[in-house]
């Protein structure tokens, strides 16, 4: 684990092979004055040309942790351990996974195996903990509509933290405790795939230490990138048209059954 005391950090997750969005996110984080940049894992999956993301992360000195996808690709497991339950979701997840495993070089797979599982830092006097799915399990889904406040309090207590930031679901949200707004949980969303809201942008978070009662101010930032160019590359790589459609429309077409009723009702498909 890394112990740091910066004033502003950028946090993103779920690169999903989207190297164009990764470049754009790193540019924006730099422009916003982030002193450190954290990646909460899942470098592969969904998008094209897996090996293109690795040098971007390493050259920018991004502090990267292991997601379930990285664990699977690093160790060459049979599937991504994403935790889908629906046959159609698993069908498409397997296409992404087989493609990513085949196209990730051995040195990059070896690097994935070295990644840490968590980061901890102090920001604005608050204890901040980063994890991939949750602080309990690498592939736990934390959605806005099914992560209630009493449960967040329990996670914070068990993780010895004031603020937890995670990814894994692909939809960003933040919930602060009513009794202590300086504490809460943040899902930074994903930069590899739009947030299933009909907008093609992707999302990451800027965390800034403040002197105020919040301790840490969170800004969820949309990132626009050349998604048309990514779609062209995905088609060249023979990836499913369903994935391309998501990049071009901002609506998920696969891996939908895992969504809670509330988030599913807001979906197009």
């Amino acid at each position: 684990m890394s112990h740091l005391k910066p004033e502003r950090v950028a946090v993103f997750g779920g690169v999903y092979n989207n190297h164009l969005a990764l470049e754009a996110t790193l540019r924006d984080a730099h422009a916003q004055g982030a002193e450190r940049v954290y990646c909460l894992g899942d470098i592969g999956g969904f998008g094209p040309s897996p090996d293109k993301s690795f040098p971007l992360l390493r050259d920018a000195h991004v502090l990267t942790m292991m997601g379930n996808y990285d664990d699977s690709i690093g160790r060459g497991l049979d599937d991504c351990q994403c935790g889908y339950t629906d046959p159609r979701d698993n069908h498409f997840a397997q296409i992404s996974y087989d493609y990513t495993l085949k196209k990730t070089s051995d040195p990059n797979r070896a690097w994935l195996r070295t990644l840490p599982h968590a980061f901890r830092l102090e920001l604005g006097g608050r204890r901040v903990r980063f994890a991939h799915g949750s602080t309990r399990r690498i592939n736990e889904f934390l959605w806005a509509s099914t992560t209630p406040e009493p449960f967040i309090e329990r996670l914070l207590r068990d993780a010895d933290a004031d603020l937890i930031a995670v990814t894994h679901t692909g939809i960003p949200w933040e919930r602060r405790l009513q009794r202590d707004p300086a504490s809460g949980l943040l899902n930074v969303g994903a930069i590899g795939r739009p947030a299933n809201d009909g907008d093609t942008c992707v999302w990451y978070a800027l965390l800034t230490a403040t002197g105020g009662p919040l301790g840490v101010e969170v800004e969820l930032r949309p990132v626009r990138y050349d998604h048309h160019a990514l779609a062209v590359e995905m088609r060249q790589e023979g990836l499913p048209e369903e994935f391309v459609e998501t990049i071009l429309t901002g609506w998920w077409t696969t891996c939908l059954e895992i969504l809670p009723a509330r988030e599913r009702a807001a979906s197009r498909f």
Binding site: S145, E153, A261, R264
Partner: protein, 298 residues
């Protein structure tokens, strides 16, 4: 050795499942009282069975207080038929104030008014509200011998009212018919039925039959050697099996899961706080969950 002693010895060798913390709380709000008496019910719910009576409103609210302190993540209402409870909307409202809720129903009591009220709660509640409607065939000929005369059309009508109110329910299918043993065939047939009824995004959950309760009479029950033994569990199975992170509260006390509320010796006491410990998987129904990788979660 007598068969009883053989059974005792086999149960004594059952594996212990670690307890990962109370994530999920099941509330048997109407106990074993139901408006229908399905032939495959793994408890013996029906209009006359009050072996587990309805939970008093205050009992549910007190249990919710405890659950909030324990940091429970999600709630389920089941029975029996939850919509028989006279205070059901109070209970739904109170639960949704502190977490997401799934309600398991046979759909028959979902009137237009009930559906509209649920639709309002779905839209304005702070957390997700999900409805699970049980249906056991794609025709009356398949469903009605299991769930009761004319239930096929009544159940579908209840689901359609929910859909009109803005709620897309999860259709729960117990795989009592050989035709649904092949899940992809089962999914295809139910999708086709539901899409024709206007469910453009049908949600489905398949459940294996548990050979206890009324289903034991239909299926002859479990064999004497259908028990898990030490060494059968895989590492981390407490995160797959629901009983690794859930408990069920009925009017009569606390149980490990919603399946075993009529099982001998399954009762864990009066209070939730006293039931948060590892359990031995010494009931044959436990083998069904283990073998099927089954979780009662939506």
């Amino acid at each position: 050795m007598s068969q009883d002693l053989v059974d005792l010895a086999a149960r004594a060798n059952a594996p212990t499942l670690p307890f990962a913390g109370l994530d999920t709380l099941w509330l048997q709000v109407t106990g074993t009282l139901c408006n229908i008496a399905c032939r495959h019910c793994f408890i013996t719910c029906g209009p006359k069975n009050d072996s587990h009576p309805m939970m008093a409103r205050e009992h549910v609210l007190d249990t919710l207080d405890v659950a909030r302190r324990l940091g429970v993540r999600e709630y389920y209402f089941t029975g029996g038929e939850p919509f028989m409870h006279p205070h059901i909307f109070d209970l739904i409202d109170a639960t949704l104030q502190q977490g997401p809720l799934s309600i398991l129903t046979n759909g028959i009591l979902i009137t237009e008014d009930v559906a509209q009220r649920l639709g309002d709660l779905f839209r304005r509640g702070p957390y997700s509200l999900d409805l699970r409607v049980s249906l056991d065939g794609t025709t009356p000929e398949e469903n009605d011998p299991i769930r009761g005369k004319n239930t096929f059309h009544q159940i579908l009508a209840g689901g359609e009212r929910l859909l009109r109110a803005g709620i897309n329910p999860v259709w729960t299918v117990t795989t009592v018919h050989a035709a649904f043993d092949d899940r992809s065939e089962g999914y295809a047939r139910f999708r086709s039925l539901l899409e024709a009824r206007g469910f453009t995004r049908p949600r489905l959950k398949f459940i294996p039959p548990f050979l206890i309760g009324r289903e034991a009479r239909r299926s002859q029950g479990y064999a004497a050697d259908d028990l898990l033994q030490e060494g059968d569990l895989f590492e981390g199975e407490e995160h797959v099996l629901q009983c690794g992170s859930c408990r069920t509260v009925t009017a009569r006390g606390v149980y490990p899961c919603p399946i075993l509320i009529e099982a001998q010796d399954a009762r864990m006491g009066d209070h939730l706080e006293g039931a948060l410990h590892p359990i031995r998987l010494d009931h044959p129904a436990c083998a069904t969950c283990h073998q099927e990788g089954f979780s009662c979660r939506t």
